[in-house]
């Protein structure tokens, strides 16, 4: 924790910068909806940040904006200090559904980004094997997606997001479709992968405990219009474990986050 704190304060430039971003959507009826209002956020290199909030708070929109898939109506986004105009290749994404290609085996699914980026598959073969090993899928390289459990599919999706070695990993409720136990297991596994690979992670979830357990900082968002309510530093030791959920500090964090979300609802 201490060492992380130091890199945090010493870093010259934030990895991701979101400056007074607004997003306005036009509905089919012609009226305008404010999806994001004045979002300001900086994410440091190697930091694990979770975005938590109820549905409609714009957390997924914000994530897609960082991915370069949605352009802000106003404000600016910077990656490594450079203004983001199109999707950056330095980003890996994991969605709620694994969306593996059913006609490709595990290994070829992991290598999909390599093919799309026009890189040589042979150069990344070893990396693909290593990643699959890292997530505990050694021996499953030739299996087809329909032979994998939901958790295994999502593990494969994580490997696919990491194969081109991006420095940023964006995750949009990646474990929401899994059962509770697989979800906890994968959460901890993700932390292990993160410790080993040192990525900057932005992780969207609607689970408060998941948000706290994984994060260095939790960004609490509230809906209508979507905005950041508060950013909370999580001062729990690493490596994290499931028992931490019973710690008093953890309960305090949960209480604060829950209060922030509920108070926004009652107004």
């Amino acid at each position: 924790m201490q060492s992380r704190k130091i890199t945090y304060t010493n870093s010259v430039q934030p990895k991701i910068q979101v400056h007074s971003v607004f997003k306005v959507y036009e509905t089919s009826g012609g009226s305008e909806v404010l999806a994001l209002e004045n979002i300001n956020l900086e994410v440091e290199s190697n930091e694990f940040v979770t975005l938590v909030g109820p549905s409609g708070c714009g957390k997924s929109t914000l994530l897609k904006m960082i991915a370069g898939l949605i352009t802000p109506s106003d404000g600016s986004l910077l990656i490594d200090g450079k203004i983001l105009v199109k999707p950056s290749r330095d980003i890996g994404i994991v969605f709620q559904d694994a969306v593996l290609l059913p006609w490709r085996n595990t290994l070829d699914n992991v290598l999909l980004p390599i093919e799309i980026l026009g890189l040589r598959k042979e150069d990344y073969l070893q990396a693909a094997y290593d990643l699959l090993h890292l997530v505990g899928l050694k021996g499953f390289e030739k299996r087809m997606p329909n032979e994998l459990s939901g958790g295994m599919q999502q593990r494969t999706a994580i490997c696919r997001a990491l194969i081109h070695n991006p420095s940023i990993l964006l995750m949009d409720e990646p474990f929401a479709a899994l059962d509770a136990m697989t979800r906890e297991e994968l959460g901890l596994e993700l932390l292990r992968i993160w410790e080993e690979t040192k990525k900057t992670v932005v992780f969207v979830t609607h689970s408060i405990s998941e948000a706290i357990l994984l994060a260095d900082r939790v960004v609490v968002m509230t809906p209508r219009p979507g905005k950041i309510s508060q950013v909370i530093d999580i001062n729990l030791n690493r490596p994290r474990s499931l028992e931490m959920e019973f710690f008093e500090e953890f309960k305090d964090y949960s209480f604060i986050v829950r209060e922030l979300i509920h108070s926004s609802r009652n107004t």
């Binding site: 991915a67 370069g68 898939l69 290749r89 994404i93 559904d97 290609l101 006609w103 799309i116």
Partner: protein, 266 residues
């Protein structure tokens, strides 16, 4: 290794049992029905022009064995040519529709509306326009096959999960790459659904075409044999037609199993 082998044996046993159940039982039922029909025919002895016996159908088939393959061949030729032409034109048109919002808004709705035109009703017109011979039949087959193929291909290419498209977009994939690696393979199971619908319609289309005006083919044979009260020959032709239709359908399904092993199956 031994366990694996045992497993395989067990699997083969299970498979052969499944095949026996899946094919053996229906065939047994069919034989029983035919036998019942023959017995009933012996008991009631209806006039042969009204209902021939299975025996007499076999007899007639053997009597006509010299010309039946020729007629069947012509119908098969019309069916396959129209069907293949529908694939050759249908799939590229589906691609164009998927990639062009303009065509999607202008041509596609009209195409869907045209699908409601009973293609059978157009057959006499075709006869008028392109005359006798195989061409009008091929056109009827083409028309009945074209729409299911276009619609299924287009919906297959459009039904790519949006998060998958987001993923490739985040990697700045070029459109041809997305088409070849994502949209086309994703559409394959849908295309095969369309092909299976189309092939059954294709046989019907060919026969209808022959009904309207021809001097060869199984449809023609059915028409003249009923006019001459040779009901057994009509039955024989219908059986050949049905067999042809079934074989074509399963040929497509076999092709699907080879090309699209990941397709969901019932």
């Amino acid at each position: 290794m031994i366990i694996q082998k045992l497993n395989m044996n067990h699997r083969n046993l299970f498979l052969s049992k499944k095949i026996t159940l899946d094919f053996g039982l229906p065939i047994l039922t069919l034989i029983t029905l035919l036998f019942g029909w023959q017995v009933l025919w012996w008991l009631t002895s209806p006039p042969p022009w009204f209902l021939p016996s299975p025996m007499s159908v076999i007899e007639v088939t053997l009597k006509w064995i010299d010309v039946l393959p020729m007629h069947a061949g012509i119908t098969l030729y019309e069916t396959l040519t129209g069907f293949i032409l529908a694939i050759i034109f249908g799939i590229p048109i589906a691609v164009v529709i998927v990639y062009s919002t303009f065509l999607q808004r202008t041509v596609y709705p009209i195409l869907l509306a045209f699908q409601s035109v009973p293609k059978v009703a157009v057959a006499p017109l075709l006869l008028m326009w392109v005359g006798h011979g195989e061409l009008p039949k091929i056109i009827v087959v083409f028309l009945v096959c074209f729409f299911p193929i276009v619609v299924s291909s287009a919906s297959g290419m459009q039904s790519v999960p949006s998060s998958l498209l987001d993923l490739v977009r985040s990697l700045s994939a070029n459109p041809s790459m997305v088409f070849l690696k994502i949209r086309l393979p994703n559409a394959l199971p849908y295309i095969f659904v369309g092909l299976k619908v189309a092939i059954t319609l294709a046989v019907i289309g060919a026969v209808i075409g022959e009904f309207v005006g021809s001097n060869a083919g199984l449809g023609y044979l059915i028409l003249i044999s009923t006019q001459q009260f040779d009901t057994a020959l009509a039955f024989s032709s219908i059986i050949i037609l049905t067999t042809m239709s079934i074989i074509l359908f399963y040929a497509i399904e076999l092709l699907e199993k080879i090309l699209v092993p990941w397709a969901p199956r019932q």
